[in-house]
């Protein structure tokens, strides 16, 4: 039984054609289902909870990366399978899961190849892909056993559970140096990437990523700063002096495509 959760921005007329094509294809594949809509008066948590009570086991997110963030943040303890039909922009998370945009995603959905992946938790909220803290002068405490400090005045910190596909976002901050395997959502680890900003660290690094990026796998970390840290988690933004992040292993079953960025 499938439940399709549409984001509010899809009410715009420019998405009519693609949504009509998607709904036709889903019917042809025999996987059409009930449609719910996120609005100013409804949230993902409430809608999912009600449908799970009715026996829904597969929730399909129709929208962009922010839609995925809203839905993942609302699943709480629900045991369900998550599918995706990317519409709008950005759709880098879905691309990293091997899901193409629009109508083509319906075929991936019908094949129903599932993987159980880790999620992350930041200050009590679940996230699927990454937590970004740009331009921060922070101290990171890892596993309660060690502390990392940047010798540069300013650095970008990205804590990655799922690596963003380079095809979706070339030069993404979460991209690891070439040859490094980071952001595997099935390994039980989060990868913290620390990159000094260009010109920082006594001007040594003219461009970010000139061999300057640190990569540290951790299960639990705490990021602190004297000033509030601007945080973006899967598109959701907030700020706080202390940011606690930990892995939630094997938390969510997702429908993926062959072009996913992990094995």
């Amino acid at each position: 039984m499938y439940y399709y959760l549409y984001d509010s921005f899809l009410a715009d007329k420019k998405y009519e054609r693609v949504l009509a094509a998607v709904e036709t294809r889903l019917t042809d594949l025999g996987i059409s289902g009930k449609i719910g809509r996120l609005t100013a008066f409804t949230n993902a948590r409430g809608l999912i909870r009600d449908e799970v009570r009715r026996g829904v086991q597969t929730v399909v997110v129709v929208g962009n990366d922010q839609t995925i963030a809203k839905v993942v943040g609302g699943i709480d303890d629900a045991k369900l399978t998550l599918g995706f039909i990317p519409v709008g922009t950005p759709t880098s998370i879905a691309r990293s899961l091997g899901i193409p945009d629009g109508v083509e995603a319906c075929d991936i959905l019908s094949k129903r190849v599932t993987q159980k992946i880790d999620l992350g938790m930041v200050n009590g909220h679940l996230f699927l892909s990454q937590v970004r803290m740009p331009g921060a002068n922070v101290t990171i405490e890892g596993e309660g056993k060690f502390r990392l400090t940047s010798l540069a005045d300013d650095c970008d910190v990205v804590v990655s559970n799922l690596r963003i596909s380079e095809h979706a976002d070339p030069g993404a901050q979460g991209a690891a140096p070439a040859g490094y395997t980071v952001g595997d959502p099935m390994d039980g680890w989060l990868d913290a990437l620390i990159t000094p900003r260009p010109g920082a660290f006594m001007g040594m690094f003219r461009r970010a990523g000139e061999g300057a990026r640190s990569v540290i796998p951790m299960r639990k970390l705490s990021v602190t700063s004297e000033e509030p840290i601007a945080v973006e988690a899967d598109g959701r933004q907030f700020s706080h002096n202390v940011v606690s992040i930990e892995i939630v292993p094997d938390r969510l079953k997702v429908i993926t495509g062959r072009e996913r960025v992990f094995a």
Binding site: K145, F146, Y180, D187, G188, I194, S214, V215, P217
Partner: protein, 153 residues
């Protein structure tokens, strides 16, 4: 939970770049590359590379290691240790196989080979002491501290 798989046999999973300082006890199950500053202790079950700009003030344990920077602390490498020309080791070194390039410096004791150092062999040949209750062992430590000034006169 599946074990973490590395993309290749020699690709590092952990990179401490030149702009980062790590303090405390760090343990890894994968390959580690250090280009920055480390203080405390550093352990990996696999390969370690210490870059030329790295400054380590820690006891280091690795399966294999290649050192081109500075290490102040004991270095225990289970299999092969390679010291490049810019390596500076200030501490004891223990490894099975050692390769030292011209220019590398080591200031400390060196123990090599598959066999244990002679001192440890002697310790193992002594009859094992019966386990003392913890309280009695603590008393003996305190007694040693108290008696030390008198014994050195």
């Amino acid at each position: 939970m599946p074990n973490r798989e590395v993309g290749g046999a020699h690709e590092p999973e952990t990179v401490i770049a030149a702009s980062v300082k790590l303090e405390g006890d760090f343990q890894s199950q994968g390959n580690v590359l250090i280009e920055g500053v480390v203080e405390g202790s550093l352990k990996t079950e696999r390969d370690l590379r210490v870059g030329e700009r790295a400054r380590i003030s820690a006891d280091v344990y690795a399966a294999n290691a290649t050192v081109a920077g500075e290490v102040r602390g004991n270095l225990v490498v289970a299999e092969r240790l390679e010291l490049e020309p810019t390596a500076r080791i200030h501490g004891d070194v223990r490894t099975k196989v050692l390769v030292v390039a011209s220019g590398a410096t080591v200031n400390g004791k060196l123990s090599m080979g598959a066999e244990q150092p002679a001192e440890e062999q002697r310790k193992q040949q002594r009859p094992a002491k019966t386990e003392q209750p913890a309280a009695k062992a603590e008393e003996e430590k305190v007694a040693e501290k108290v008696m030390a000034p008198f014994l050195t006169r």
